[in-house]
Structures are given as C-alpha cells and as structure tokens.
Symmetry: none
Subunit: 499 residues, 2 copies
C-alpha cells in the first residue's frame, strides 16, 4: 500500500463509520422508529452528519489527501478512492457547516411530513417543506457549480456522472418521440389482456413467504441481508455484508412480488462488490443509474420473462391455489406485462415506466432551471400525465406526492431510473450474444446470469463510472437504441402488432 | 440558561449524538443485523465509540466544563448535568488509552469464549479469561478510586451511587437471615401449587398478540416505542421519545408475558422522564437499581397481583381457551406466584430471586476484595446455592456460567437487582397509604399508579440519585424491612402459613 495513502486511512475509516451510522439511523427511521421520535432522531442525525462533514473537510484529512494527490504509481483502487474522497471534500467544503446541518435536519424530518401529506392527499401541507428543500438544493448546487455550470447539471452529475441536461434532453426526447406514439398504437390495437386475477384476496402472510422465497431464489443472501417493510420499498447498504431491502404488501400480488425482485436486484449489486472495497469510499454501486440498471434488469428482463416463470409458476400456484390455480402461466406472464397507462410510477408497466420518469425529469428541470412555483406542481403534473399517458391523477397522493425522492432532497435522481433501464437493455443485448439467457432462466440457473453481472459490473463498485463499465462490458458506448428496440420488440410480440 | 453552561451545550450535544448512535447500533445488532455483518459493525461501533471518547475527554469540552464548575447559582438541572459529565470525563480520562483498548478487545472476545464454555459446561475454559477481566477491572477501579476507596466500592458506585459494601452487607445479611429460614418453612409446609398448565402449546402468534396488548394495557406508548424480539429480553432507550423493548417466546406462557411486563416497566420509567431532560446527560433513569425497582414493581407487585388479573383474566382465557379455559383466576394467580427454588436466576420466582443475587454479591466481593481464586468459583457457588436455596447446580452452565455479566466486566451490577426489588417494595408500602392500589388494579386504572410513579420518580431522570428519590417520595431513608415484610405477607397468605 502506498505510504501516503496508508496515512490517510484512519481518517477515512472514522468518516466512513459516521456515514454508515447515518445510513443505519435513516434505515431505522424509515422502517421501525416510533413516530414521536422523529425530531429527536433528526437532531441526532444532524450532529453525526456535522461530525462527518468536519472529518471530511478537516485539515487532518485534507492535508493527507493532498499528499496522496502528489503521489504517482497508485493502484486503481487507491486512485479511485482518492478521486471519490476529493469529490466529497469539494462537495462538502463549499457548504457552510451550519447550513449543511440545518439541511440535514430538514430532510431527516421531511420524510414524515411528506408521508402525512400523502396520507391526507394534501400537497399544500408538504409544499412549504418542499420549497425549503429546493432552496437548499439550489443554494448548494450554486456552491458546487464549476465554470458557470447549470444548477440542474450539478445535481445530475451527483447521481450520474457525465449525463447532463444536453444528453438527457436528447435521451428523453427519443423516448418521447418513439414511445408515446407506440403506446397509442398499443392502446388502440384492440388486444385485450386479462389481469383481474392479480388483485384480490392475497393473504399478507403468504405474500411474505413468497417475498422471502423469491429474494432467496434470485440470490439475495440473508446472512448478509435483511428484509423489512416500509411505506415505499427501498434498498440500503451499510456495506457489502449488510444490505437491506424493504417491501410493502397490497391486495395486488404483483406489487410486492416485483418490488421484491427490483430491490433484490439492487441488493445483489451491492452484495457482489469485491470485499477489498468494503467500507471504502468506492465500496458502493457506481451510480444511481447503474443501480437502476441492475434492479430493473432483474425486475423486468428477468422477472417478467416467461422463461423465468417456467420453473417457478407451479410453485406460485401452490402458494395461491384459489387465486391462480386456474390461470395458465401464459396468462399470468401476459398479465404481469400488460401495458396499462396508470398514475403510479412504482406500479407502472415496463413500457410506460420511462414516461413517468420523463414527467419528473421535465418538472425537476422546471423547478431548478425555470423557477417553477412549487404550488403549481400538481396541475402541471396532471397536464403532463394526460399528454404522455392519457390519464390524470385524481388527487395528490397519486400525483405529485407519490414519490419520496424530492422529500429527501434527491433532485436529479429520477432520470437514473430511465437511464438504468436503457443501460440494462444494452447489457441484455450484449449478454445474449454470449449466453442463452432464456435457457438459463428456464433451468433456474440464475447464478450464471448473476455471476456474469458480478464479473462485469458488480465487483467494481465505484472504481469505474457507468459509461466506462458499459463500454468495458459491451464494447461500445452507451446507446439508447437498444432500449427502444427491446421495448418495441417485446410489446409488439405481446400485443401482436406488425413491425 | 447560564452562559458558561450554554457554551458547553454544542459539545454535549455532539457527544450525546454519538452515544445515541451507539445505542442504536447495538439495538440493531441484537435484533436485526445479518450475521455476517458482525465484524464490520464492530469496526463501525469502535470508530464511533472512539469519537465519543475524544469528544468527552477533549479540551474543547473539558475547558468549558471547568468554566461551568466555577459558576454559582446554577439550576438543579444544570448542576446535575455538570456532575454527570464530570463523572464521565473522569471515568474516561483516568485510564490510559492503550490499556482501555486492550480491555475492550478482551471483553469483545470474552462473550464468545463465555458462550462456548457455557455450551460445553466447562468453567475452566473460561477461567483464564475471567481472571484477566478481573485484573483489568481491579486496575481500572484503582485508577478511579478516591481517598483509599475499596475497589469493589468503586465498582458498586458505578451502578448505584451511595450503596457500598457496608450498606450492602447489612442489606444482604438481612435478606439471608430472614428469607432463608422463611423459604425453608414454605418448602416444608406441604401446600402444593399446580402450574403445569403454564407450559404447553401456546401458539407464538397469539403470544405476540398478548404481548402487544399487555404492553399497551400497562401504558407502553407505541408512538414513542417499539417492541421486537431478541435472544434475551432487554430494554433500550435512545431517549424518552424512543424506548424499545424486546421479548422472546417459549412454550411457557408466563415467560414472554412476564418478560414483557418487566421490560414495559423499564420502558415506562424512561418514557416518563421529563422532556426538558431529553438527550441531556441526565435524561436516563437514575440508576440500575432504580430501573430494576420499576421493572420489578410492574412485573411482581402489579403483574403477579390477583387484583391485576380481575379485569384481564377472562380476556386471557379468550386468547387461550384450550389452555386456560378450565383454569380459574385463583389457580392461575397461584401458579404465577409459585415458590420453586431453582438454579437459574432469570427463571426464579419472586421470593427466591434475591437469594440468587445474594450468592453473586458474596462471590463478587470475594473475587475483588479477598482475591478469591477464580478456579474455586464453581464449588463455592454450588455450596452457597445449597445453603441458601437447598439445591446444587449439576453443571457449570446452570451454575457460575449462567450469566453473561462477568464476561462483560460488569462487576457491581448484580446487587442492583435485589436493591431494586427492595426499592419497589418501599414505594409500594408508601403508595398504599395514599391510594387503594388493589382497587385501582381491579378497575384497570393503571394510569393512576403510573402517574404517581412518574410524578415521584420517573420525571427526574438522573437529576437525583436513588437514595434521594426514595427519601423524597416516601419521606424516609431506604429501608429494606418493607421488602422483607412484603415478601413474608404475600407468601404467608399464598402458602397459608400462620404469622
């Protein structure tokens, strides 16, 4: 190990302990903590967060970081860690500590405010909080901006390096141009897919059993992971030996089932990161988009694939004999792929999903770059849903309040969902050249698919960025055509459309 | 607020955030974290713990603490906080960091060695480790000792201020003189109490329902608390708005039931602490003994009281119609109070419980003050059990290896269990002068009992020590006669003995 790098380690270790403690506090807050603890938890999180910031920006760490930056001949990992730490130092040193702490307390509390507003279907109860969050986000982005960078570009960079407004406008325009008319074509083609049987009396206990079995089948390792419940399913990783997923149970069997497959995809990514990266600054997934590529790969390309259900469907029928006993596998697979423009992103079918993201991308851009008034969000939201999906929300809970992201200050995150889907489609096209993916799914050999992804993507953690990983794996630059083509092929077949 | 005190606050806040984060990490570790996370969690906890110590012993905090100590006219709370922080500073700064680290490594390893020795029923496999722990404990107590204090007194002070060997010798001698012959009288009186029905097929799901109902009935506020499962039941409080209890379920209904009532007692204490103390250095229960007084008050004086079951027993029968449908309330209450000298402290009845503690007190004192050879423990343990309880352990696992406390270095902790029971009995005698406790229990008006305890004990947190609290509440000094009298009255009636 490089000597200067070695001397930096104790400070990184301490910083990482604070960061991991914060992740745990947040996990606990979302899944277990009693409601009345909120403001006190926020205070505690604020103090640990301030300690983290001081450690990162303090001269003990930064002088040693500078020493490392003078070094030559660093290993790939050493160089990557130094790059990540430098980014974190720059990110945090440009923000006045008092403001950072105030912000942290705000977003630690805002989740509950959002949840209550959502329960009450009352956006205006959340609007003042959202306004404050946006003000902080813009202020912080202005602190971080380099060479006249646009504020929203600064935010986007945080989640997906190298994907800016320019690239995303192009990407989303392609989706809009190709998919909105394609969706219309499907809606008007006359093919009717039955899916009523997915909703009904699906006992929660049996759903829990299914969730656990499915996670195990996909390769989620319960000796390194935990599954719990929360309002909005999510995955969090303390490190690659402690990865936690949540789900929620409804009267629609596909809701919990596919949220588990989705979160298990995130988890499998984190669990696949090489042990030498554990608790280091490159010991997490490469980016949000890369994370979504894995979760959506498992959810859609794997989980909604007919081949995936070949070895499993009878077992599913045994769990729910009354509900699915008379439904054939073909009917079930058609139902879980049914295109049905809806109001809720997390319940969207694979085709319309990225149109939900498109709405959010356009609104985020307006909020940050065009000073859109927060109070106007519900109406513009509804208008865009009508334009792209042909449907308006009936109230705020199924409109602008449906996602927690903005309540957490995660502006610039949403595009990752669509980018991730596109990354995954490109990986899938590449994998099919090297292995018979459908055949492996039919045989239940998930491990070969998982290992291939681990070898090319997971193990690297944050050592390489998403553009690089895609290029290294597939041999070409990111190309969204694969995604559009994949969707058109799949849904043309399902809906029996001509080319 | 005093100015010097005000300037100290940010440092206390940061320290408290670290301490609370550590409590959360430990809670998570005991109840949820995946098995393979252990060593990484320990690393994280170690780093946060080191940050806590540095904050407590650092000059930023200590110079401001010294300034406060020069101040006059501080409020009761300010003075109490400064007293507590001073103790913590002295505790953490008098031990050379290298020795402390060595000790921490030892006790983090010793739990595993103890557990293996217990599984193997082999005390000698644990003895060398225990010897090392005792050496450290004595060395540390010597560092902390003031004015020629005895080492065991230093340790006792840590758990229960003002209760030293002199007072405890007197206390435990009284228990020995009065209760050992009384127990013999009961064992020989010929009265037989049936309790087989407490064991059997008690479905876990129904037990969980009962646990939740019971906690609520006692006044455990789920909006400020959480109930979970763990190997051994415990209570932990992040602060008075986040108090967490655990239980475990066995085939004996009284096991989970009374562990819930016991832990709810701890929780009600923490939940009753005044809000102005939240997250301060006096925002916890006054002492281990005072804590046990509340948990054992609820468990025994309330929970094993016939009057408590008057409004509840039919509901219990409805939950377990097959198991308890034919058992009268009188039979049930007799069974949960049955005196049965055993080998395991945590399974002891109310009468013999403090005799288990007596054995441990006498042995601790010998280990610390009389240099008793560790190897001789099992034999002396067995002799004392025979003398006081009329029963010898058959192997080390049900003898000297049964408790984890010594493996964790917690010498001086055990007496709190018996002291707490005696505190509770004195409070009970006092309460009965002011209210008809049994009548309140019959009417289900738990709230009046809880409020009375809150008013006189809970709200004060660590503002006052246990001696002071007892004196303020009952109007007299701690007096163990109440405890002895309570036990004799109760069990004379149950076993139909003459006075």
């Amino acid at each position: 190990m490089n000597q200067a790098y070695k001397e930096l380690q104790p400070y990184l270790e301490r910083a990482m302990a604070f960061r991991t403690a914060l992740i745990l506090i947040e996990w606990d807050n979302e899944t277990l903590a009693p409601v009345q603890a909120v403001s006190y938890t926020a205070k505690m999180a604020g103090a640990v967060s301030a300690a983290y910031q001081e450690m990162i920006t303090g001269s003990e760490l930064t002088t040693r970081l500078e020493a490392c930056e003078q070094e030559e001949g660093l290993s790939e990992m050493e160089a990557a860690v130094i790059r990540e730490v430098r980014e974190e130092v720059d990110d945090l040193s440009c923000i006045p500590p008092a403001e950072y702490r105030e912000y942290k307390e705000l977003v630690s509390e805002s989740g509950r405010i959002w949840a209550k507003a959502k329960a009450d279907r009352d956006f205006l109860a959340f609007a003042p909080t959202l306004k404050k969050i946006i003000e902080f986000e813009k202020k912080f982005a202005a602190y971080r901006a380099k060479d006249g960078q646009k504020l929203y570009d600064v935010m986007l960079d945080h989640f997906e390096k190298g994907f800016h407004i320019e690239q995303l406008d192009q990407f989303f325009n392609q989706l809009k141009t190709e998919l909105v008319p394609f969706l219309k074509q499907i809606s008007e083609c006359g093919t009717v897919i039955a899916d009523e049987f997915l909703s009904g009396e699906y006992p929660e206990e049996t759903q829990k059993k299914l969730a656990s079995l499915t996670a195990k089948y996909l390769g989620f390792d319960f000796s390194k992971g935990v599954m719990a419940e929360s309002a909005h399913p999510f995955t969090t990783a303390l490190h690659n030996h402690d990865v936690r997923i949540t789900t929620h149970y409804t009267d629609n069997i596909s809701s919990a089932l596919f949220s588990v497959i989705h979160e298990a995809g995130h988890a499998i990514y984190e669990l696949g990161i090489a042990d030498k990266l554990t608790l280091s600054f490159v010991g997490q997934g490469a980016s949000m988009g890369m994370h979504e590529s894995q979760s959506r790969f498992f959810e859609n390309i794997v989980g909604r694939n007919d081949a995936f259900w070949v070895p499993l469907y009878e077992r599913l029928q045994e769990l729910f004999p009354e509900q699915l006993g008379n439904i054939s596998r073909e009917e079930f697979v058609a139902a879980i792929n049914k295109v049905q423009p809806g109001r809720i992103r997390t319940e969207a079918d694979e085709l319309t999903y990225s149109l939900h993201v498109l709405v959010r991308y356009e609104l985020e851009k307006m909020l940050i770059e065009e000073d859109l008034e927060v109070e106007k969000l519900p109406e513009i939201w509804a208008d865009k849903y009508e334009e792209y999906l042909g449907i308006r929300p009936e109230h705020d809970a199924e409109g602008v309040l449906q996602d927690i992201h903005w309540a957490q200050g995660a502006f610039g995150y949403f595009p990752s969902y669509a980018l991730g889907s596109a990354f995954g489609a490109q990986m899938y096209a590449h994998m099919k050249k090297n292995m018979d993916v459908e055949e492996l799914l039919k045989k239940g050999e998930l491990i070969k698919i998982r290992e291939y992804l681990r070898e090319h993507i997971h193990q690297y953690g944050k050592l390489r960025d998403s553009r690089q990983l895609i290029k290294d794996m597939t041999g070409e630059e990111f190309n969204p055509n694969y995604y559009v083509q994949y969707l058109k092929d799949k849904f043309r077949t399902l809906y029996q459309l001509s080319n």
